[in-house]
Amino acid sequence: MLAIYKREIQSYFFTASAYVFMGVFLALGSVFYAVGNLAAQSSDLLGLLWNMGYLWMLLTPILTMHTYAGERKSRTDQLLFTSPVSLTGIVAGKFLAGVTVLLGAVALSGVYVLVTALYGRVYPGEVLCGYLGFLLQGCAFLAIDQLISARCRAPVTAAVWSLGVNLALWLLDVLNSAVSLTLVNRILSALSLYMRAAPFQEGQLSLANILYFVAVIVLMQFFTVRTLDARRWSA
């Protein structure tokens, strides 16, 4: 697993993927910060994190499009799947590498906290809680999009499908606000990656929501392993 992790990290940083991801993430994040905090003279970092949560749906496909679909297209998957490393090890290594890039981007966004702390008041516990939700939300999108990458044959197809699914997940929230049926509202709220992140951005540390995100990640990883294994039988 460690070998896979190291190679994935190298791949992200030897190619443009990580730089494009972090660059666009910070550029758009800075726009949110400039408009929502600097121009508005607000130290509300939780609001910033809530808005930045929408960046995941746009940007995680950049990180995941090559994860499996790229390997399949270039046939380097033959090297991985004929090696003594287990499928679980491969999937975990690739996911952790993606999380590392995600963490790097999140760490760089800490500059907004520093600037705010210089000119305003920052509540560390509240901000850490917000960041936890923000990161868990990003990891969930990463796991979903890696599963999609495992199901695709070409990176561009994987990116388009990932973007489509991410947008569909966001549209669940739009649908939720448009429908007024209690049962439907409850189900959609329970499934929404945004509604589940909302309490964190209100400073509420909720074990149920942490478990929800962890469950989504583990489930997606499990399905990714099953998808890769199924390909050996049907490919």
């Binding site: 070998a3 190291k6 190298q10 030897f14 270039s74 033959q78 004929t82």
Partner: protein, 307 residues
């Protein structure tokens, strides 16, 4: 070392390979022959664990590939038809990654890389990016990756495909050296390559084995075939040769030189004594007599046509 037992791989209703059963002994070099679509690559992909069979079992060094994949795959080095290379990596990084995948002890990796690079002629290329290498060197990097971890079994899928004649000759020379002390299975549709490198041949046709023999046995099974060059008159000679005991057939070849008749004799038994007696009687001197084995190409074409 390798056991294939009743291996079948189906894609829907179509079978890519059907009921393949064979063993490969330690140290043996096996050539897998077949036309395009005969099932060679599928068989090799199953042998390396990249594909799972619909039915049957594969064992490598006594380890079932499905039940004990980790132990079985540690014994394998695989060079697919398209070498699995990461273009953005240097050759050294690619080999390091392969060593790590093969669970080589970290402290041994630098020395192991140098040794493999030396054996595959990549020593001067270690710092180069894989994406910038020629096809011949990419193939060598693929082979070097397969050698990481010093596997007992090397599986190579059409390893010289796409190489120019010089690269092919160099690559074959490298393969010949690497095959020493290893079990090697490789597929090819270049029959001369199989003839040059293998001790045993399996011919696949429509996913089934139509021939599994040592190269020597395969050629001997074709019966004794002699090529003779005789000075004399063709019109008198050919009918006389057909009367020789033990000679099944006489095929006239283009004349070797003016007045020198060249013939192929298909024989059930060695006809040398009767031949000498006949030619002495005809006053036609025998200039040359040598064994002419059927080429693998002839055997292959006949078997795949019959299959």
């Amino acid at each position: 070392m390798i056991t294939f037992s009743g291996i079948t791989k189906r894609y829907g209703a179509a079978a890519a390979v059907s009921d393949l059963s064979f063993t490969v002994d330690r140290g043996e070099t096996l050539g897998l022959l077949g036309q395009n679509g005969a099932g060679k690559t599928t068989a090799l992909n199953i042998m390396t664990g990249y594909l799972a069979p619909t039915a049957g079992t594969v064992t490598i060094g006594g380890h079932d590939l499905m039940a004990e994949p980790r132990q079985a795959k540690r014994l394998l080095g695989y060079l697919p038809e398209v070498p699995p290379l990461y273009d953005e990596m240097t050759v050294r990084a690619a080999l390091r990654f392969s060593c790590e995948l093969k669970l080589v002890v970290a402290a041994d990796i630098p020395g192991h890389i140098l040794e493999i690079a030396d054996r595959t002629g990549l020593t001067d290329m270690l710092g180069r990016r894989v994406g910038n290498l020629s096809k011949g060197y990419r193939q060598r990097v693929g082979l070097a990756q397969a050698l990481c971890g010093d596997p007992e079994v090397l599986v190579l899928d059409e390893p010289t495909s796409g190489l120019d004649p010089r690269q092919t000759a160099e690559f074959r020379q490298t393969l010949r050296q690497l095959a020493q002390g290893r079990t090697v299975v490789f597929s090819s549709h270049i029959l001369s390559e199989v003839q040059a490198l293998c001790s045993r041949v399996i011919i696949l046709h429509h996913g089934r084995i139509v021939c599994d023999r040592s190269l020597r046995a395969l050629q001997n099974a074709e019966g004794l075939r002699l090529r003779a060059e005789i000075q004399g008159d063709k019109k008198r000679l050919l009918p006389a040769l057909r009367t020789l005991p033990g000679v099944r057939g006489v095929t006239a070849l283009p004349d070797a030189a003016p007045g020198v008749v060249s013939v192929l004799l298909d024989c059930d038994q060695p006809p040398e004594k009767a031949l000498f007696d006949l030619l002495c009687g005809l006053h036609m001197p025998l200039l040359r007599l040598q064994e002419a084995q059927s080429s693998l190409e002839e055997i292959f074409l006949r078997l795949t046509a019959e299959g």
